[in-house]
């Protein structure tokens, strides 16, 4: 994908990414505990998930408020102690349920997209 999306397409992409950022954040923290900057760097490596780095912090905050994440302080090698985020049991359950839902949605949408592609190709064939 190149950066030649129209503004309408861009808006759609932003919404799509935003919805996925929450589940991706939970996945990152299911692998190991992390602090803000580190989580942002991990998420940035996901292909296509380009975002404002700042948008991750409200999501961390919200997940913490909802009991999906716990926090603790740990000294860093350089600078002041950092706040680390850790997945709670509630967070693990939320993540599992999200993964199930995502799988279902993905299968359904994939099916529909295939049908769409077939229809587009049929229309193009005669000409």
């Amino acid at each position: 994908m190149t950066d030649t999306h129209s503004s309408d397409e861009q808006r759609w992409l932003t919404q799509l990414r935003k919805g996925l950022l929450e589940v991706c954040t939970l996945v990152v923290l299911s692998q190991e505990d992390g602090y803000g900057y580190q989580i942002v760097q991990r998420l940035k490596q996901v292909d296509g998930l380009t975002m404002n780095e700042g948008t991750v912090y409200p999501i961390l905050q919200r997940l913490h408020r909802e009991g999906c994440l716990a926090t603790y302080r740990q000294p860093s090698e350089s600078g002041p102690p950092r706040k680390w985020f850790q997945l709670t049991q509630a967070g693990r359950e939320r993540l599992l349920s999200m993964i199930r839902e995502w799988g279902r949605l993905h299968r359904g949408v994939q099916q529909l997209l295939h049908e769409g592609v077939d229809a587009l190709e049929e229309k193009r064939d005669p000409s």
Partner: protein, 241 residues
Amino acid sequence: MTEDRAIQRRMAAYAHAVGEALAHVPAADRESILEDLEEHIDDALRAAGGDRGLEQLEAVLTALGSPEAYAADLQVPGPAEPVEPRLCKKAVLGLLWSASFVLVAVPSWLVVRLEEPGAGPSLGERLFQFSAFLSLAGALGGPVLSAIALTQIRLAAGRLSGFGMATVGAWLPPLLVIDVLAMAAISAVVEIFVEDGATISALQGAGALLILIANAVFLSRAARRGGPRPAAAGVSPRPGG
């Protein structure tokens, strides 16, 4: 050195803008996000290596995005039913405790002063003394409990109600002390300048009425001034999504 100051200023301005954008968010959440951002900026600058110039800072802030983006991300679109504020229990208890000081301890003290020394106290009298003691403790406990309730209600940003109750609970005992002092002062002044007994009583009555009105006005203004903003602001769905 001047660049250092410019960096500090730029960071403070950015943090301020984020804080403004999050004005409707509970204070605890807002502070937490600001703290996280500060940590992020610090980490990002360190990762960028060596010199922490204004240029590096601008790059980090650009990657963070607009302050408005945070505000948008804290309000999840979706089932945003308005949260009915819950009555803060500490506000009710604080008010009752403070009020018990006025309604029980003060009359008890008057009764004890007026009663004649006699045989040992009966069970009823002991109970009465105990409740009077509890109420006396309310002169301190009531305002303290109410002050805790006030802080909780402020931090809850509309999710807790009972601000008026907590305000009255916090002020009732100290107001009573002020009232007693004011009444004593009025009586003393009146007795110096007026000789006629009936006029003295009338003036003292007027003074008491004035003090009562002043109390009511003060309490109602205090309860209204610091009241939390409407609850709906923090949870309203975003138009357009």
